[in-house]
Amino acid sequence: MRLGLPVAVFLVLAVVEALTVAFVDTSIQPLDRTDSPFQVRDVAAGTVFTQRLEVRANGLNEVRLKGGMSVGGRPAVLRVQLVETDAQGATVRVVRTGRVEVAADETRCCAFRFEPVGASRWRRYRLELRVEELGGRQLSLWLAPAESDDSLTINARPRSAFLVFRTFATAGTGAGRLATAPGRRHLLVLLALIYNAGVAGALSLLATGWNPRRA
């Protein structure tokens, strides 16, 4: 039996699994958007955004907005605060505060990195973002339309949209989540290997007309 195809299929599946488990962070529940995202240009200094988010992994340590900033002579400054809320949106406590400085030659905006929040899974947060100083530069942020208006406010006014953003957490990837459960990790790896072998066998049989000896 020629081993080329089954080995290749097995390896492709294993690589896809390994890469997604090791590198793809899924620490946030995706928000339901109703239409294509759009860009808000020329955000003025002093504008305050608040964005609600529910985190699905422990160790939340970064919120990265999708936006851009024109090149300028001075750094721009944004004030950021992460506030834990209850289900109704009422403040429980301020979890992290910080300042994001966008360098004069930086055109992407913005990543808010902070000390990991240990028990962030299942918790709800409100990201408060204040554009403090733009230094004569133009800030644009991406928003996506949403059905409800309880997710985002701009200058305290609710909007039927949400900021386009990603989150990262120390336990945000599959590998990070399974790091604390070695028994389960071994079981899942074993089952995944059996699965890969089964798919490799099935595709190989398809390709060879159900005759494993055919070259």
Binding site: V16, L191, G209, W210
Partner: protein, 432 residues
């Protein structure tokens, strides 16, 4: 050919085992009420006297321990911990009301209750997993029956392709590990498809139609979803009569069948109860005029046919759905192409498979467009084998003859990779 079935069985079993290992208790749709009804039957069989025969308090306690409300994205009801499903507030209509209600047809629950009664009373989680294993067994038999049906409907390459597709279909393995009667109805649907093909390709039409009707009536008695198999059986009977029997026999058979349906719906309480319940539940005005609702209704039906997890709270990423959309659109256009290009047997297979889907769509539409609750794609699983048959035939229409094998490998490979991505990106992130 048997090797192809064996490989598909290994794939399906490993994926169902993955589902058992990853998806926590109560995370499959309606599991709490299904387990509670089975517990009621177990208590009846063992003669256990208790005020909570459905063990609702234990199930709710277990749901809390397994973060059900977190996954459902609703707050836990305020005040003391509820001990009955009706007191769970936000989710009351979702997880069902009363496990003692006679509206739940006994055959499935009594059988599972009897199985549970064979061992000493254990935790509700253990009973849940026993029910999940029963569903897995049904799914494994569905794969085998699907294989037998494909042998009658398709050539060798088609048989292996559709069997492999069933094994790697992202939602099928997940739905097949749900503690509930759905997997049994899916098996009944596969049996109906097998006997349809037997009636169309074989020589003993009467035997096949008799078996087909027996299975359809059985499915209708087991679960409301199974009622949809009755019109499918009627359509198949008409089709077989028209194409395979002498006109006099055909008319006689169809008339007898229609009379038999009317009598059975009117007199067999189990079937009448299922039909009445479905129509009563759907007593409101239909949303047929609301085009925006219809669009969302169909879109969700479609996306959740491919993938949906945890009481439809976890969906595949958008780009993932776009890929499945492209595969489906190509196959759908290809089916039309095949229909006009090919003659005889293939055209007949396409028509019967399409009838399966149309009848299920109509049944789902009649009930759910009135309920105004989004139905899930798994309600189409009684027709999963004909659906995948269409998927293959439609894809095959675009592939030059000498590359058919490569086309089959590519189709199964793409679905397998999508499945792997759904496990790693959605299931693993939701439940670990």
């Amino acid at each position: 050919m048997q090797l192809a079935l064996a490989a598909a069985a290994v794939v399906l079993l490993s994926r169902m085992a993955l589902s058992l290992a990853i998806v926590p208790p109560w995370q499959q749709p309606d599991e709490p009420i299904h387990v509670a009804i089975a517990e009621v039957w177990r208590s009846r069989i063992t003669g256990e006297g208790t005020s909570d025969r459905g063990r609702e308090a234990e199930i709710i306690d277990s749901m809390i321990r397994h973060h059900w409300w977190h996954h459902y994205q609703k707050p836990l009801p305020a005040g003391p911990q509820p001990i009955r499903f009706v007191s769970t507030g936000a989710v009351v209509s979702t997880i069902g009301l009363d496990p003692e209600s006679p509206s739940y047809a006994p055959p499935y629950y009594a059988t599972v209750g009897w199985l549970l009664s064979l061992v000493p009373r254990g935790t509700v989680e253990r009973d849940l997993y026993v029910m999940r294993l029963v569903s897995m067994l049904c799914a494994a038999i569905t794969l085998w029956v699907g294989f037998l049906a494909c042998r009658l409907a398709l050539d060798e390459l088609g048989v292996a392709t559709v069997t492999s597709l069933l094994a790697v279909h992202p939602q099928f393995a997940i739905a097949s590990t749900t503690a509930g009667p759905d997997a049994l109805v899916t098996l009944a649907g596969a049996l109906v498809w097998w006997q349809t093909m037997q009636a169309l390709r074989g020589t003993s039409q009467f035997r096949s139609l008799a078996l087909l009707w027996l299975v359809s009536i059985g499915a209708a008695i087991v679960d409301r979803l199974g009622v949809a198999l009755l019109p499918i059986a009627l359509c198949v009977t008409i089709m077989v009569s028209a194409t395979r029997l002498r006109p006099r026999h055909a008319v006689g058979l169809v008339v007898c069948t229609v009379v038999a349906i009317l009598i059975s719906v009117g007199t067999i309480p189990a079937i009448r109860g299922q039909v009445e319940f479905s129509l009563r539940a759907a007593s409101g005005p239909s949303a047929l005029g609301d085009l925006d609702y219809i669009r969302r209704f169909v879109a969700f039906l479609y996306t959740s046919w491919w993938y949906s997890l945890g009481w439809v709270r976890y969906q595949a990423p958008e780009w993932w759905s776009i890929v499945t959309g492209l595969v489906t659109i190509a196959a759908s256009v290809g089916v039309v192409r095949q229909f006009f290009r090919r003659g005889g047997a293939t055209r007949e297979t396409i028509v019967v498979a399409a009838v399966n889907l149309i009848v299920l769509l109509a049944a789902v539409g009649v009930v759910f467009l009135r309920l105004r609750v989004g139905p899930q794609g798994r309600y189409f699983f009684p027709a999963i084998v004909p659906s995948l048959t269409l998927l293959w035939l439609g894809t095959d229409a675009w592939v030059p003859k000498r590359y058919r094998t490569a086309g089959a490998v590519a189709l199964v490979g793409v679905v397998a990779v999508l499945d792997v991505l759904a496990w790693t990106l959605v299931a693993l992130s939701a439940y670990t």
